[in-house]
Amino acid sequence: MSAKKDQIYMKLYISENPAAKSADISRRIAADDMILTSSLPTTAGSRMLKGYMSLFGAEVLTRLDNAGFTLAGKANVGEFAVDLLGETSYFGAVETDGKLSNAAAELLKAGEVSAVITLDVNGYPRRAAAQNGLISLKPTYGTVSRFGVIPAACSGDTVSIMANDTAAVSEIFAVIAGHDDKDGTSHPEAVCETAKTAAVPIKRIALPVNLTEGTNEDVKGKLAAFTASAEAAGIEVVKVESDIIAVSNIAWNILMSAEVCNNVSRYDGVKYGYRAENFSGIDELYTNSRTEAFGELIKSVIIFGSETLSADKYNKQYDKALRIRRLIVEAFAELFSEYDAVLLPACSALSYGEEIRADKYAVYTENRFTAPASITGLPAVVCGSVQLIGRAFSDGSLLAAAAKITESEGK
C-alpha cells in the first residue's frame, strides 16, 4: 500500500491515529466511503464530496469504537455505491493485475483489516465478496442503524459487513446490530437481538434455477460445489422456479433510481461540497456544479429516477414497482414456508471481462442476482462465491449455515 496521495484515494484514507497503526489486526476495520467519519473525509466516491468532512460519524462506527475496534481508514467505492462493478469512483477504479477489483476486498485479502463496513445499495459488496472468495453479510433491513450513512436508496440501503470468514462477520454484526432512536426505520432492540442468534437452523434450501441463467461456467461450478457441500452437511438443496423473483432488478432499478435521484438533489454547490468556478446566476451555479461534479452513471440514474416519478409515468412505473415489491416479498414468504433459505448466484462471472464492461445494458442488468435481497430487505450472506437469502432476522442462522457449508471442510 503506497503512501502516495492518488493511491490513497484509490484504496484507503489512512487514519493518522497512531492507535490505528498499532492495533492488532483482529481489531482493525475499515469502512467504505459511504460511511461518514468525522476524523477522515467521506466522499461517496464522488467529486461532489471530495474532501468532505462530516460533523458527525456513523452510529455503527461509534459502536465499534466503544467495543474496542479501530478504524484504520476508508475504502474507495463506486459513486454513491450504485455501480455494481465499482468502476465509477471519481478517484479511480481499483485494479489489481490490470483487472477491475474492489477496495474493500483488496484490503481484506492483503490482511490490512479484519472487516470492512460497507453500504449495500445495489449489491456491490456481495458481488465483490463473491468474486474474491470472501464473506459478506447484508443484514436484515432495519437491524443496523443508518444514522451517519450517506443516503442512496433508503428503502433498501443496508450497512453491511465484509470479512475473510464468518466468525469475523458474526463478531462485527453482534456489535453493530441493535435499535437506534436516531434511525426511524430501526427495529426494537429485542428484534435486533434475535437476528444475532442462529435460532432456526437452515435445513432446506431452494435454488430458483431460472435465476442462474446468464451465469458462466465458473459461477455454475460454484453453485454446484456449494450444493454438494450442503448436501454433504445434511442440508437439502431443491430446484425451484420463480418468475416474480426474476424481475426483482427491473422493479429495484425503478425504486433505486428514483430514491437516488432524490437523495443526491441536495448536492447543489451551495452549502458545502463542490462548487463550479464559472457560473452566472443561481441556475448556472446549480447546473454547472452538478454537471461537473457528478459522473455519467449518476447523471443517468438521476434522469431515469426523475422520469419514473413524473406525473404521467408514476402509476405505470414507480407505483407499479412498489406493488411488484409486495409480490416478491410474498413469493419469498411462500418459499420460506417450505424452505429455510434461497440460493442464488451473486454475479454472472467470477471476474468481469471486457464484454460486460463494454455493454452498458449488461452492466445495468447485472444486479438481477443482488436485487431480490435489496428490494425485499431480506438478509443475504455471500459465501463460497454464492449467495444465500434467508427469512427476515435469520442473519445468524445464515452465517451458521455458511460456516457449516463452506468453512468446516476448509473450503
Binding site: L55, A251, K271, Y272, S300, S306, K320, L322, R323, G377
Partner: protein, 93 residues
C-alpha cells in the same frame, strides 16, 4: 423518450448533458422500456403497494429542542457565507 423531454428532465434536475450522453440515454430508455414490459405481465390491480419492507409503525420523538452544532461548525465547509448567511447569486422573485 424524446430529446425535448430529456432536456426538460435535465432542467428540473439542474443538469446539462452532452449530446453524446443524451444519445446514449435515449437508446437506453428504449431498452429499459422493453424490460418494463416484463413487469406488466404481473397483475397488480389488487396488490397494495409496499413502501416500507418492514412493518414498523409510528416512530415518534418527544418535542424537545436540542442544538447539536454551532453555526460556525456547520458553515466551515461552505463555499460562500456572509454575516452568518449562506450566499448565492441574487435570485429574482
Amino acid at each position: 423518450m424524446t430529446l425535448g423531454y430529456l432536456i426538460s428532465l435535465e432542467q428540473i434536475n439542474q443538469l446539462s448533458l452532452t449530446d453524446r450522453q443524451r444519445e446514449e440515454i435515449i437508446a437506453f430508455f428504449a431498452a429499459r422500456d422493453a424490460e418494463l414490459e416484463r413487469l406488466y405481465r404481473f397483475d397488480t390491480a389488487d396488490t397494495e403497494r409496499m413502501v416500507h419492507v418492514m412493518p414498523i409503525m409510528t416512530v415518534v420523538r418527544e418535542d424537545k429542542a436540542v442544538q447539536l452544532f454551532t453555526r460556525e461548525a456547520l458553515q466551515a465547509a461552505a463555499p460562500e457565507t456572509d454575516e452568518g448567511y449562506w450566499c448565492v447569486p441574487r435570485v429574482l422573485e
